[in-house]
């Protein structure tokens, strides 16, 4: 569709990935005043995962209205095509060197190298598979990730099976429970190993309750049966240590098992590049300009840390694209002077450093759910929160005035319980 044959040898900015992150980064780079941008994607068209997310609920923050995934993608693409941009689809990025020599491969151009003034990594994430959680049993067909099933059903017009058990209560799993039901597939249940659902309440109600699909918490799949095709799965409740109680196991007939058990940032290129990786996010360590540990290599979106809203991916990627263009045109902002540390109830924080001269948005994820709590940035700022859950990323605008009287070089950000005086024991 957009496979190009007239690739240049050199670009101001090369963006790896044309999903929501890549599109926003490319757009911001062009708006910030670079002349040549190349965006590369291995799929046949730009848009990334949004193209298969046909449900609505996207764009409330970014566009101020609720859009379907394809609409959200097309809005960004339309804006992009107003500029001069080269888009290479059906094209793999095989390698990026520290000197920003990018090796590409596609049927239309073969293997080519292009030199980039700056690179934005926006490869997104991929789904965890059955192998990642080691479910015992045979290896029949019919076991796949929820996102793959989503592509089959929503784009290719293929049904993965007739009776599908869903493992994991992440949003993709919940959305697919509804989607499969609407397509005439029976969904006997969604099984979640944790004692709480991982998806949004809205999806619990509109994807499960609306269709009387049961959600079994603290329960997991312990065996897959069937030689050529899945015939049934064994499920069992788990204890507080997440160990299954096999004495209470039962089997469920099904021909399909969809796994919705989390996403992994796709960082093979980042690792080859030798970028510093944060073990808590599994993504590159980034500065407040979304620059990685390599000069002129930026990153944004799910490749940096897993987001729950595409709107925040776009915001982060606009920042990365703008700063990639600033890098190329010699207009870099002052370097960061404050390191951010995650407190005891914070699982991850992005970016990893900030600077005291301008405003930043800091994203964090808590370890444990809390109702009334304090969000604390060192001793310079605190804010009351009504609730926090691990499934919902928390964002904080850090303003220069918070840091007016701060002269240290690191700050710890944490979310701690807020005990109300006189509150009764629960």
């Amino acid at each position: 569709m957009m496979s190009i044959t007239n690739l240049q040898d050199q670009y101001d900015v090369v963006v790896v990935g044309a999903g929501p992150g890549g599109m926003a980064a490319a757009l911001a780079a062009l708006r910030t005043g670079v002349d040549s941008v190349l965006m590369v994607d291995r799929e046949v068209e730009p848009g990334g995962i949004l193209n298969q997310c046909i449900h609505n609920g996207f764009g409330l923050h970014h566009f101020g209205e609720e859009l379907t995934g394809p609409e959200y993608a097309q809005r960004f693409l339309t804006d992009l095509l107003d500029h001069h941009i080269d888009i290479a689809t059906d094209c793999y990025v095989l390698d990026v060197t520290p000197d920003r020599l990018v090796t590409l491969m596609s049927p239309s151009v073969g293997v080519r190298q292009v030199l980039a003034g700056a690179v934005v990594l926006a490869m997104g994430a991929r789904e965890r598979t059955r192998g990642a959680i080691r479910i015992p049993g045979r290896r029949p067909s019919g076991v796949m990730t929820a996102g793959l099933a989503q592509k089959f059903v929503n784009q290719m017009g293929l049904l993965p099976g007739r009776r599908a058990v869903i493992l994991g209560s992440g949003d993709i799993g919940l959305i697919m429970a509804r989607r499969m039901t609407l397509e005439g597939v029976e969904v006997p249940g969604v099984f979640e190993i944790m004692p709480h659902a991982n998806g949004l309440t809205r999806n619990i109600v509109q994807c499960l309750h609306d269709f009387d699909i049961p959600l079994h918490l603290s329960t997991t799949v312990v065996e897959i049966h069937g030689r050529d095709r899945v015939e049934k799965v064994t499920v069992a409740p788990v204890d507080e240590r997440l160990q299954p109680d096999l004495s209470r196991a039962r089997t469920i007939k099904c021909d399909t098992l969809l796994a919705s058990i989390g996403l992994i940032p796709e960082n093979e290129l980042s690792q080859k590049l030798g970028l510093r990786i944060d073990p808590t996010t599994a993504g590159p360590v980034v500065s407040s300009t979304m620059e990685t540990s390599r000069d002129g290599v930026f990153a944004a979106g799910n490749v940096v840390h897993i987001h729950d809203l595409v709107d925040f991916v776009s915001q982060e990627a606009l920042l990365a694209g703008e700063n990639a263009a600033r890098y190329v045109t010699g207009r870099r902002p002052p370097a960061d002077n404050i390191k951010l540390n995650a407190g005891t109830n914070v699982a991850s924080v992005v970016p990893h450093t900030i600077s005291s001269d301008r405003e930043h948005t800091v994203y964090l994820r808590v370890r444990h759910p809390l109702e009334k709590s304090w969000l604390r940035l060192g001793e310079v700022y605190e804010k009351r929160l009504r609730y926090v859950v691990p499934a919902e990323m928390v964002s904080l605008k850090v303003r220069p005035r918070f840091l007016e009287h701060f002269h240290g070089d690191s700050l710890t950000i944490d979310i701690v319980p807020r005990d109300e005086p006189g509150r009764e024991e629960m």
């Binding site: 569709m1 046909i54 609505n56 609409e71 017009g157 949004l200 309440t201 619990i204 109702e371 009504r386």
Partner: protein, 132 residues
């Protein structure tokens, strides 16, 4: 005056935020809401009222498309529709097929089920590359 025994209680899960408040709506035999409980903000009360009296959903699905880049075209209703009409809309759309190219916003079914609501394409669907 009705006694408590005449009241019918329905439970809802609030979708306003991750707190997921468990809401209860009491209805008297005349079908009027007597009391709403369990909410912790105004949003929750409004949600319970709406969900009890006129639940609506945004319907999104796909229709067939011939000669397109993909086999299915994502579509959506232009407004939320009554929840009880969802299956009728889905069953009708299952029989619909269009021909590429299609532009985002193109009306696929006008005034579905005799309503004022159109079902429109959620994206452009270019024709498949004949060389491919």
């Amino acid at each position: 005056m009705s006694t408590d025994n005449d009241l019918q209680t329905t439970q809802y899960l609030c979708i306003g935020c991750p707190l997921g408040c468990r809401l209860e709506v009491d209805e008297d035999p005349a079908g009027d809401i007597v009391e709403i409980r369990g909410f912790s903000c105004r949003k929750g009360k409004t949600f319970a009222e709406r969900e009890h009296t006129d639940p609506r959903r945004m319907i999104t699905t796909t229709v067939g498309v011939t000669g397109g880049l993909w086999a299915r075209l994502p579509v959506h209703a232009t407004e939320e529709m009554p929840k009880h009409q969802m299956w009728d809309v889905i069953d009708l759309l299952r029989t619909v097929s269009v021909t590429a190219p299609v532009a985002m916003g193109d009306v696929v079914v006008a005034g579905i089920l005799g309503s004022e609501v159109d079902v429109v394409a959620s994206r452009d669907m270019p024709a498949a590359d004949p060389a491919a």
